[in-house]
């Protein structure tokens, strides 16, 4: 591996995105959770849920701040590190980029209002209504930015002539083939991850001995949401796999170590590759890859050997794909078990092993987001614009990428650590029961 400008630009972009999507995912999903909690709180006149919404919102402000600044960073880095790509993107895909900032603007305004008007309106519902533009803004910015990423996977709506884009159709570029499945998967997985993280917090509090009504209600609500969103995520994942099989077969083939085009193709779970690309130590589900690709066992799945060697993605993306899928099913199953135990009286849904699994589900879901994005991004290597522009042609020719990489690495390290410290401190010194007493005194 040579550390030239291209490699360093890739490393810096990856690092920024890996750090940013932690906060971006929370930014998309947590507003939904806050809104649900506040709505239930108002409808049932239940101060536990109102407090839940407040405490989530308070922690949310910290993560939003880091999300905003790292989002600004990636926005500018795109032009700084990939100037030739952005010149083309500016011509073809500026529309959703531009719309994303509007959505961001909208969210920023209403989030500011929401956070500072808790006790300002006579009717509590007026305050709840403010969550709607926040949710629309955050999910819409995810939608628009995902269309840009989808465009990089399945570019359309222009012709490239001598490095210049001509015959541009902004709408076609935005609603490219990859857009629907990507947006669906990004949104559902963000909602699922946020719910799972909030559930992990509740489970952790209960494990630490805080078994009050507040924690139990928090756990039940977040588990119900995790279950629903994880179910939707699985559906979205299935839609995405079928899309890949049809439109971007080299990505699915790399994910599944599927070399020969064949029907009744096997699904490969984990395993290793030897030097001759022979699969070893795997769990093999016969015919299931065909089923995944086209809902029947005799669907023909295109293999990697159909592609020239310099246009194949690296084969290690297989592990990313498998880890993402396994975590998704694990979290879905844990939420299902909890809900069943919660329903049936003779089980204790607050048993330690289950609580530990719920706790693990939060960080694991975030890891699944990372694995999923790494799979999606590395899976379209060597292209930056699939079929049009390779990554190496798009990177900056400027000097100093190495230096900026080190500076940003330090920045993210500091931000990550302090963010965690501030969040922990924020809630450690303010127990929920005490705040409940103080804010909603019982009559």
């Amino acid at each position: 591996m040579e550390l030239d400008s291209v490699m360093l630009s890739r490393m810096l972009t990856s690092m920024t995105l890996i750090f940013h999507i932690i906060f971006a995912t929370i930014g998309v999903g947590v507003p939904i959770m806050i809104s649900i909690a506040e709505f239930i709180g108002i409808k049932r006149n239940d101060s536990y849920y109102l407090l839940l919404a407040r405490r989530w919102a308070r922690g949310f402000t910290i993560t939003v701040a880091v999300g905003v600044v790292t989002g600004t960073a990636i926005g500018l880095q795109l032009s700084l590190l990939w100037p030739s790509f952005m010149e083309v993107a500016g011509q073809v895909i500026a529309l959703p980029l531009f719309m994303e900032t509007f959505a961001f603007f909208f969210e920023a305004i209403f989030l500011g209002i929401y956070l500072y008007t808790w006790d300002r309106f006579k009717n509590q519902m007026t305050h709840w209504l403010l969550t709607i533009p926040v949710m629309i803004g955050s999910s819409a910015s995810a939608l628009f930015i995902t269309t840009v990423n989808a465009f990089m996977n399945t570019p359309q709506g222009f012709d490239l002539e001598n490095g210049k884009a001509v015959n541009i159709d902004p709408i076609a570029a935005m609603f490219n083939p990859a857009t629907p499945s990507k947006v669906f998967h990004v949104l559902t997985s963000s909602y699922m991850t946020s719910a799972a993280i909030l559930a992990a917090i509740a489970a952790f509090a209960i494990l630490r001995g805080k078994r009050g009504t507040y924690e139990r209600k928090a756990l039940r609500l977040t588990m119900i949401c995790t279950f629903i969103f994880a179910g939707l995520t699985a559906v979205a994942g299935d839609v995405s796999a079928k899309f890949l099989a049809e439109v971007q077969p080299e990505k699915l083939a790399a994910a599944e170590w599927h070399f020969e085009t064949e029907s009744n193709a096997d699904l490969i779970l984990f395993g290793t590759l030897d030097e001759n690309n022979e699969v070893k130590n795997e769990i093999r589900l016969p015919g299931f890859l065909s089923f995944l690709a086209g809902s029947t066992f005799d669907t023909e799945v295109i293999g990697l050997n159909e592609f020239p060697e310099d246009e194949r993605p690296p084969l290690w993306v297989h592990y990313m794909f498998d880890l993402m899928v396994s975590i998704g099913f694990f979290v879905f199953a844990v939420a299902g078990i909890y809900l069943i135990m919660d329903r049936i009286k003779r089980f204790n849904e607050l048993n330690k092993p289950l609580l530990w699994m719920i706790f693990a589900g939060g960080p694991l879901s975030m890891l699944a987001i990372e694995f999923g994005w790494i799979f999606a991004e590395v899976g379209r290597q060597p292209w930056i614009l699939r079929g049009y522009m390779k990554v190496a042609e798009a990177a900056t020719t400027g000097d100093g990428v190495g230096l900026t990489f080190i500076l940003f690495a330090l920045l993210y390290l500091v931000l990550g650590v302090i963010c965690a410290v501030v969040l922990i401190k924020m809630f450690k010194n303010a127990p929920a029961e005490a705040e409940l007493e103080q804010r909603f005194p019982r009559k």
């Binding site: 402000t61 910290i62 939003v64 701040a65 905003v68 600044v69 989002g71 600004t72 926005g75 500018l76 880095q77 032009s79 700084l80 590190l81 990939w82 100037p83 952005m86 010149e87 993107a89 500016g90 011509q91 500026a94 529309l95 980029l97 531009f98 719309m99 994303e100 900032t101 509007f102 961001f104 603007f105 909208f106 920023a108 305004i109 209403f110 500011g112 209002i113 956070l115 500072y116 008007t117 006790d119 300002r120 533009p133 884009a165 001509v166 902004p170 900056t396 020719t397 400027g398 000097d399 100093g400 230096l403 900026t404 500076l407 940003f408 920045l411 931000l415 302090i418 963010c419 501030v422």
Partner: protein, 339 residues
């Protein structure tokens, strides 16, 4: 008005918006830190955070809007500025990141942490300096361009009197704009103690602002004669209006009356200067490589962007109005009676 002129006007207006709201924010950070180390924080810092907390995120969007918009309307700017500004741009991003996140850490998390406040205050003065680099290099002379490489001439920038005069102007105007606004805000809150301190800040930073502006003119003549001639020849009246607004604003603040009008005059002062500067810079976006006509994106995209822009404004203006109504014009909130 043709599409490219409309595009650049829209973008310039947003940059102007950022100039005003970010200056208030940047200056406020500095004053808050200064207040802390001179033990006046109990007088001014609550006032400052009451204004900033709900709006700091919105401030940031103005900037994002500008740089996304310029790449959209004028894609070749991404190529030239992107390649050239790798180091100064990254430094600006890092400073912005430190500032934004530490604001949140300090204000929502650990209150009264002096290190957070220091980082917040110090970056407030460094960011305008680093961002103004982009405007400085737009005058030409700081890039060398050959077939496949754009190189940023760091040494030329660091030894240029013009670039240093722009840095000086950006810092003092940040402090002046911020002080003028906060004086008005304190006055609305009927907080005479805070008002007196902030009024002194306004008056203190008023003369340097005008001296620095003159310095920019003088060094621009040396650096880019063409631009200077156009500014003085065609658009002298804009700069004259700016000077008049400045004089009137300073006078009102000095006489302790109509702080609101005074702040509007400060806004107009910068409006005329900023647009006079921008108009005389045209047709060049980056002298002499990018001109307005040649670099505009194709017509379909430009039209789409303008349509989205209008729809976006229809959504933004009422929302911004609501934000201002709740936090800027609500006397009860400003006084701290509402939480």
């Amino acid at each position: 008005m043709n599409l490219e002129l409309l595009g650049i006007t829209v973008l310039w207006t947003f940059l102007y918006g950022y100039l005003i709201v970010a200056s208030i924010d940047f200056g406020a950070g500095f004053f808050a830190y200064y207040g802390k180390i001179t033990n006046k924080d109990h007088i001014i810092n609550n006032l400052i955070s009451r204004y900033l907390s709900p709006v700091w995120e919105v401030t940031n969007v103005f900037f994002v809007f500008f740089f996304v918009g310029i790449v959209g309307f004028f894609p070749s700017t991404a190529y030239y500025y992107g390649t050239a500004l790798l180091i100064p741009g990254s430094i600006a991003i890092i400073l912005l990141a430190i500032r934004g996140s530490f604001y949140a850490f300090g204000n929502y998390g650990s209150r009264d942490n002096i290190i957070y406040l220091f980082l917040y205050g110090a970056t407030g003065l460094l960011i305008p300096a680093s961002l103004s680099t982009a405007l400085t290099i737009s005058e030409g002379g700081f890039l060398s361009v050959d077939d496949n490489k754009v190189t940023f001439l760091t040494k030329e920038l660091l030894t240029s009197p013009y670039s240093w005069s722009v840095v000086a102007l950006s810092i003092v105007s940040v402090l002046f704009i911020s002080a003028a606004f906060l004086t008005y805000y304190a006055d609305r809150a009927n907080d005479s103690e805070a008002r007196n301190i902030l009024r002194r800040f306004s008056l203190f930073w008023s003369p340097p602002t005008i001296i620095a502006s003159l310095l920019v003119f003088v060094s621009l003549r040396e650096h880019n004669q063409l631009h200077f001639d156009k500014a003085v020849g065609e658009y002298w009246w804009m700069f004259a209006l700016s000077l008049i607004c400045f004089g009137a604003a300073s006078l009102l603040i000095y006489q302790k009356q109509k702080f609101g009008t005074a702040f509007v005059l400060v806004m107009l002062q910068f409006f005329f200067a900023f647009f006079g500067y921008g108009a005389s810079h045209l047709p060049y976006i980056l002298y002499p490589y990018i001109t307005l006509q040649e670099s505009v994106t194709n017509e379909t995209m430009a039209t789409a962007l303008v349509i989205v822009f209008i729809l976006g404004l229809l959504m933004l203006i009422p929302s911004l109005y609501l934000l201002m109504k709740l936090f800027l014009f609500d006397a009860d909130y400003i006084k701290g009676n509402k939480k």
